[in-house]
């Protein structure tokens, strides 16, 4: 029993859209960070699905890099959140409005 490629792609697209919606709609920094991670992992699903269906390994290699980059990004994101929390005692994105054009 085999699952068609398009099902994986649809799943990934839906996950990606949920991630995008999370980034755009939520105002808590930690949840925005989680949504970004969700976007990256949706892409990972896409890459692995393509890689598997084509029998080509380079997509999976990129997935390894994406995972480590996502970890680095999460660490930087948490560091920035900690620094900004110490400064403002808030993690709500609407509280940061120092710069206006």
């Amino acid at each position: 029993m085999e699952i068609a490629l398009s099902w994986y792609l649809t799943l990934a697209a839906v996950l990606f859209a949920i991630g995008v919606a999370g980034v755009l709609l939520r105002s808590n920094l930690i949840i925005i960070l989680m949504s970004v991670e969700l976007m990256l992992n949706a892409v990972n699903v896409t890459l692995v699905a393509f890689s598997q269906s084509m029998g080509d390994v380079s997509g999976q290699i990129l997935v390894f890099f994406v995972m480590s980059v996502a970890a680095a990004e999460a660490a930087i994101g948490l560091a920035i959140v900690i620094a900004i929390f110490r400064n403002k005692l808030s993690v709500d994105i609407n509280d940061f409005n120092l710069f206006k054009w």
Partner: protein, 123 residues
Amino acid sequence: MPADFVPLLLMLVLATGLALTLLLAARWLGPRRANPVKVSTYESGMDPIGTARQRYSVKFYLVAMIFIIFDVEVVFLYPWAVSFQEFLAAGSGVGVLVVVTIFILVLAVGLLYDIKKGGLEFD
């Protein structure tokens, strides 16, 4: 092909239906007479002190950050370990070992930086 998944769908519908039925039945059939003792957090035993929604210390985030970095690097070691035998058989075992040693050394530098900067001191 989607036909293969019909039993799965049936299973989903059954499970959801059963759970919903039981929950709703309990709601309809059971008597509900609330009183202060009954709705307290521990119906029998001690009275709760303060709220459970306390903030975690920000230091946990620091530990989480460090954990994420060193945790994910293992991702690179797994494929290496799995295919090491093949590299040995192909006669390039030494080169591959050198490469992974450099990788570990770079990580070690990160750990060293972490220790020296007091990232692992929890107080």
